[in-house]
């Protein structure tokens, strides 16, 4: 295994789904359910059984809109405010209306959600305004339950193939994708009438402070290929300057507090044991206060549970140490930290792109369509803001059901074999060199530069320096990167995605000349939010081979936001009591 072999095969399908994590399986499943005669291929870089952000499981739904607890209108309003007004509400509103039926369906798959003594869903309040958090006591079963459904629906699964470029046809429609086997380096060209991209976040963009390259918040296999492929195919990407930055346990990449510990009385505190933010729901505004506190002399910041009853603290510990990130218990054991006894030090994560938590994604409409005909995107990589795991499921379903209708009576668009040959040459270049720089060093350097220069607060001069340093690394990568086996070739290809994402992060950030979304786009040279000029999307795309940004109006709101509500998320700091 891992020897570099040559080879190229070609297959055809109606719908190609790229990425077997959360949104991808749901898209493939829904497409096959709606048309059992359609040929649907689910392509996955690892193995669908345990791939993607929810590899091991999930502690809960962060954004469940459940009748009796919240309404689609209220949720749409909350997300619009949380995302500082930059929100095409139709996609969020559609998600909010349809997510409950997805919850019921997941429940039937065997993924059970917490219910109270009356058999009602036990929804908790964590957000600033509404109530949307639903715990999943057997959240460790998600991937297994999904896999069962994929087998039942007889979706064709191709594991160990990493898509590297999309193919567009002579008519400008999507025509398929090129992929490379991660263990043999053989190529597979998949011709398709529609392609649904579900490749997750760009989670390996910044470098964790521990220096361990794979200790990222996101599953590090999510290295941003979806963003890169969409860019090179000519699709538009939205609001990439709205970075993902999360509050985490210091040195450990588990989420800290809000969704599990918050409803049971845990909170974020400073070194004086004081609460300093009103609401632990993750937003850029909340992260800005977190950042301020870290620098204020009252830091560091802690997850505080040691005021709770021993049983409550133990209960939280049990959830956090078993379901989503079970190695967390081992981390605390090694540090001799118990939640019932000591406050747990927290810190800020590395930066990334992820609309699941913020809003940086490939631009999609309320049918999960990108700006390329026949190309869809769903989950963490698509631009529906704050959409989390349930958003990946729901928008994946929307994409699958729309695409299956789209491909009816559709012909294959003709692919350009020259493109295929060119891509093969690009991917295999590092295998042809006897000597050179290994991909881990190229990647480390890119990500170290991202930390040094792109991590907010964003400073113009630093961003410009970063762009020229990244250009030097690009030259090294293109001229000198060298790999010894197929596994390293996967890492080399990922390094090129990471570099593209770093370039996009810098370019989009410099274009938006204001500050917005708290820490996510805190621009020191333009410190104020400027609604007059910048209450719009920033769309980045490749125009005549050049990275370009443009403004796009936010669609008129379906759910109006009152003047006195629109800044609710800007008032995060606990006010002094009179």
């Amino acid at each position: 295994m891992d020897e570099i072999s040559s080879g190229l095969s070609e297959v055809e399908c109606d719908i190609l789904v790229i990425g077997g994590g959360t949104a991808g399986p749901m898209a493939a499943y829904k497409a096959r359910k709606k048309n059992p005669d359609a040929k649907v291929i689910l392509l996955e870089k690892a193995n669908v059984k345990r791939s993607g952000a929810i590899s091991m499981g999930m502690d809960g739904l962060n954004n469940a809109v459940i009748p009796g607890y919240s309404t689609p209108e209220q949720y749409t309003k909350e997300i619009t405010i949380a995302n500082d007004g930059i929100c095409d509400q139709d996609a969020v509103y559609r998600y909010a209306k349809e997510c409950y039926s997805i919850i019921e369906e997941l429940d039937k798959f065997g993924i059970r959600f917490q219910k109270d003594e009356n058999g009602e869903f036990d929804v908790k309040k964590v957000h600033h305004i509404g109530t949307y958090v639903l715990p999943m006591p057997n959240g460790d079963t998600v991937k297994k339950a999904l896999y069962r459904q994929l087998r039942r629906a007889r979706v064709m699964i191709s594991n160990r193939f990493m898509a590297t470029r999309l193919l567009t046809g002579k008519n400008g429609r999507i025509a398929g994708a090129i992929s490379v086997n991660t263990r043999t380096s053989e190529f597979l060209v998949i011709k398709a009438k529609a392609v649904i991209m579900c490749t997750g976040a760009a989670g390996r963009l910044g470098l964790p402070t521990s220096g361990y390259m794979f200790g990222t918040y996101e599953n590090p296999t999510n290295s941003g290929e979806g963003y890169t492929m969409a860019y090179h195919a000519g699709a538009k990407l939205a609001n990439l300057e709205c970075f993902q930055i999360n509050p985490l346990i210091k040195d450990y990449n588990g989420p800290a507090c809000a969704y599990v510990a918050g409803p049971l009385g845990g909170y974020t505190a400073n070194a004086n044991n004081e609460r300093f933010i009103e609401c632990d729901y993750w937003s850029g505004q909340m992260m800005q206060e977190f950042h301020n506190e870290l620098l204020s002399g009252k830091g560091p910041v802690f997850l505080k549970l040691n005021h709770l009853h021993q049983d409550t603290a133990d209960h939280i510990e049990e959830i956090l140490h078993t379901v989503e990130r079970p190695s967390r218990g081992r981390f605390h054991e090694g540090r001799n930290t118990k939640y019932s006894e000591t406050m747990i030090e927290m810190h800020i994560s590395e930066i990334g792109f992820c609309s699941g938590h913020s809003a940086s994604g490939v631009f999609v409409d309320d049918n999960a369509r990108t700006t390329i005909d026949g190309l869809y995107a769903a989950g963490d990589m698509a631009s529906v803001p704050h959409n989390y795991m349930l958003g990946a499921f729901t928008n994946g379903a929307i994409a699958g059901e729309h695409a299956i209708d789209y491909v009816k009576d559709m012909e294959f668009d003709e692919i350009d074999q020259g493109e295929v040959a060119k891509e093969q040459e690009r991917i295999l270049a590092p295998t042809k060199r006897e000597d050179g720089i290994p991909p881990n060093q190229i990647e480390f350097k890119i990500r170290r530069l991202v930390n040094d220069y792109l991590q907010p607060p964003k400073v113009d001069k630093k961003y410009e320096l970063c762009q020229s340093r990244l250009a030097e690394v690009r030259e090294d990568m293109e001229q000198n990167m060298m790999v010894r086996d197929a596994h390293e070739l996967m890492r080399a290809t990922e390094a090129s995605s990471i570099l593209d994402c770093a370039d996009m992060a810098a370019h989009a950030s410099l274009y938006r000349k204001e500050s917005r979304w708290g820490l996510y786009h805190n621009r020191v040279d333009y410190p104020e939010r400027d609604d007059e000029n910048w209450k719009c999307h920033v769309l980045l795309s490749k125009q005549d081979g050049v990275m370009t940004c443009e403004k796009r109006d936010v669609k008129p709101y379906i759910i109006p936001i009152n003047e006195d509500e629109k800044d609710a998320y800007n008032n995060q700091r606990v006010q002094a009591q009179a």
Binding site: M56, Y212, F214, N219, S327, G334, R491
Partner: protein, 77 residues
């Protein structure tokens, strides 16, 4: 420039007495999202070939003989 091999201590440990990879089992290798485990040609047992671990634990949880232990990588311990 020539390539050196820098040593690194890896987080995933396989108990070779319990591992049944030599009987054809490949569960841990299959489920790793980073694809960092391999079966050794010398011993026939699973081992961590690449130090690129998310310490997510499917390899340990899904192992049919409890042969796999995931430790926290030293750098963040």
């Amino acid at each position: 420039m020539p390539i050196a091999n820098s040593p690194t201590t890896v987080p995933v440990v396989v108990d070779e007495k319990k591992c049944i990879a030599d009987k054809g089992c490949t569960v841990c290798v299959d489920v790793c999202p980073l694809d960092v485990l391999r079966i050794s040609e010398m011993t026939g047992k699973a081992y961590m070939k690449y130090d690129e671990c998310w310490y997510c634990m499917p390899c340990e949880a899904d192992c049919p003989t409890d042969a796999v232990t995931v430790n926290i990588p030293y750098l963040l311990r």
